[in-house]
Symmetry: C2
């Protein structure tokens, strides 16, 4: 594997899966739809992709995606392709065109999904991975143990800088560890980035001076490359300890331009993930997609949350979170902090902890904190109590008997 890279796919095809896999390999390396002069056996040996594994799966009667070849039945299989590293070098943008380029729409397939990728170690020399990750984030946030209890500024958009700072102040007083901008709020004329950073950091710095606890606030600096770098510098100068970026809004080249410059943890938001993943037989599995961003330097990566407001199943959420713990390389694991978020409240910590097996995460709730009937302080307390109980193996209802904030939350957010 050291001089080749690999990708796993789930495919569905009306033709022989082995033949379909050979088409993928040809299209994504040295082939085209007719034989051309320079396509020598020697060139094929040097630059051709290979089908290294093929595992037949079930057969179905109807195609998952329309428009391609048709047949009486459609065969699913798991396929692994491998390419010589010399085709692209250790290069993330160009890896995309090779493993996830012009293949999803090939006529031979009624389904094609990228499941995972494996890269040679040299990628870990070219790309830094998370500069902070779990340990660096814990240090900056002053949370040695347990989840960082986090929240999102709500309403998502519509507050001006001063109003945002007031909400941040309320949350800081409430005992929060982590606050993030909503992904809808970056640098709108009604809430410019610099003015927001300045107003919010005044509040956070004052709170830190008073209490010794510096709340980590992830400022959404999503924008063009020069803007992101300037915003990062400004946030750093004001004492901020985290920046946030929407991955699908900037793309990998823009992200790398930020990451190579960045001296703060990068909170990586995956909004748009639905269009990349929601069709079961198309697009990306989280394990493949997140590896690219992990390598590129994402310190925190969103994984949705259990019993979320979206359509994603709990098993998918947990699989995503666990995939982040898979080391990319033995000596360069590139492990980011998973961020649980979306419709979270004091209800989900027991299951989250049970499935995850650890508490190295950011656990973010919006309405789950701000809409606690006794206010945000009780909302934060209820989340901590829920996690404390989960980690101690105490049922939430038992813990709630002596913890009124948790009791009120369990009642208020009951589904």
């Amino acid at each position: 594997m050291s001089d080749r890279f690999e990708a796993d796919y789930l495919i569905e095809t009306p033709i022989d899966p082995a033949r379909a896999a050979a088409v993928m390999a040809g299209e994504q390396s040295a082939g085209t739809f007719v034989k051309v002069p320079g396509e020598t056996p020697e060139l094929q040996a040097r630059a051709g992709a290979q089908v290294t594994r093929l595992t037949p799966l079930e057969t179905v009667e109807a195609p998952s995606l329309l428009g391609g070849m048709t047949g009486a039945r459609y065969h699913r299989a798991k396929v692994t392709l491998s390419w010589p590293l010399d085709n692209i070098g250790p290069d993330l943008p160009n890896l995309m065109a090779t493993v996830a380029g012009n293949l999803f729409e090939l006529a031979q397939f009624s389904g094609l999904r990228l499941l995972d990728i494996r890269l040679p170690r040299v990628f870990g020399d070219v790309y830094s991975g998370p500069k902070f990750g779990i340990d660096g984030t814990r240090k900056l946030a002053g949370v040695a143990d347990g989840p960082l209890i986090g929240t999102i500024i709500k309403p998502s958009v519509g507050l001006d800088p001063q109003q945002t700072a007031e909400v941040a102040g309320t949350l800081a007083e409430a005992g929060i560890d982590f606050i993030k901008d909503d992904e809808l709020q970056a640098n709108g004329p009604a809430c410019p980035f610099d003015a927001r950073v300045s107003a919010v950091m005044d509040v956070i710095n004052a709170h830190a001076d008073r209490t010794g606890k510096k709340v980590m606030y992830a400022f959404n600096l999503t924008g063009e490359v020069d803007q992101m770098r300037a915003r990062h510098d400004y946030a750093l100068s004001k004492g901020a300890t985290c920046v946030m970026v929407s991955l699908n809004s900037v793309g990998i080249a823009g992200f790398l331009a930020l990451a190579r410059h960045c001296a703060l943890p990068i909170h990586a938001h995956r909004n748009g993930w639905g269009y990349l993943s929601r069709a079961a037989l198309l697009g990306w599995d989280y394990a493949a997609w997140s590896k690219i961003w992990r390598l590129a330097g994402a310190d925190h990566l969103h994984v949705n949350g259990l019993q979320n407001k979206f359509s994603e199943s709990d098993s998918s959420v947990i699989a995503s979170a666990k995939s982040l713990l898979t080391p990319l390389f033995e000596d360069a694991p590139c492990i980011p902090m998973p961020v649980f978020s979306s419709g979270q409240s004091a209800l989900q910590p027991p299951d989250t902890y049970r499935h995850l097996g650890h508490a190295d995460c950011i656990y973010a709730a919006g309405g789950g904190i701000m809409a606690h009937p006794d206010g945000p302080r009780a909302g934060v307390a209820a989340l901590r109590q829920a996690w404390d109980a989960a980690r101690a193996g105490i049922p939430a209802a038992t813990h709630a008997a002596t913890h009124p904030e948790l009791a009120r939350a369990l009642e208020a957010y009951r589904k």
Copy 2:
């Protein structure tokens, strides 16, 4: 519309479509899953998204996408949302998070696809659009009229710089107007960018000196931002007249960093488009997606080709190509040159011209030129003859009677 932006969606939902549309509007502006303190009527009026149109469509029995709410039937509708420009300002990266962020996976939807977007005129002040477009490309390529007959270096990957230059030389001798790197070839160790540019431009410049015709070669500079800018500068210094970039491999922030720096036409490759578009009730329509890249500065945009090797229908290909002709703004139309490519040969020009209604395009064939039985010169000639006939309203078979290259091509590529 002047101070608001709009997006059209195709939705499918088991609940009342009006209620589902209201959820979208809330999620993508000032709402969350429970009411929070700052969510005042005044803030909603200022920052809330509105459902401005809802057109019910058919009802279906099975959901297109799984995982969300279920029902006895699923209602499809076309929905338009509008947002105050002040939520984001004229900002393309942040437009993405608003119109295409966390909504595709909302549980209320068993289908959600972004069809189109409409932006206030001020976007045209902040973003340049294509700097060259159709006219600028024609001037640089020396093709005043008719399509630019183009091709892709094949084999896609595996040739070294000298071998690439030899293929380019053969194609130049064959009378080609336009050559592009394959998207699989950018800066691999086996074919480094600078060495390839140097070798290829020696051949192209020499051919231009000899014949007066300078073939336009789109060098694939896909990479990180600083790499792309440096590669652009190197290509420009060697007399190149075009650069190419894989849009989904770099993303919008990286693309803008290149485009703002770029003094050559940008050939914008859409590889990966399949994962964004192939599920009928998910992702992006080309009209919406391409507007973002047009505004950002794409001079040439790929639209696939008729009777292509992929799963896309001819009507979809033509709809894509025609959507590029829709002006973004009356005084800043941002119209790029459509690129037809994929399994093209002398067979498809009549239909392409009939549907398109003009010949302002790059018409690229790989095997369709290189695998012509009488060689690439005959391949190029056959394509020109096919277009000449189409534009003159002469049936291809009639024209072939007096044009042997076309005759041989029609026979060789017959399906």
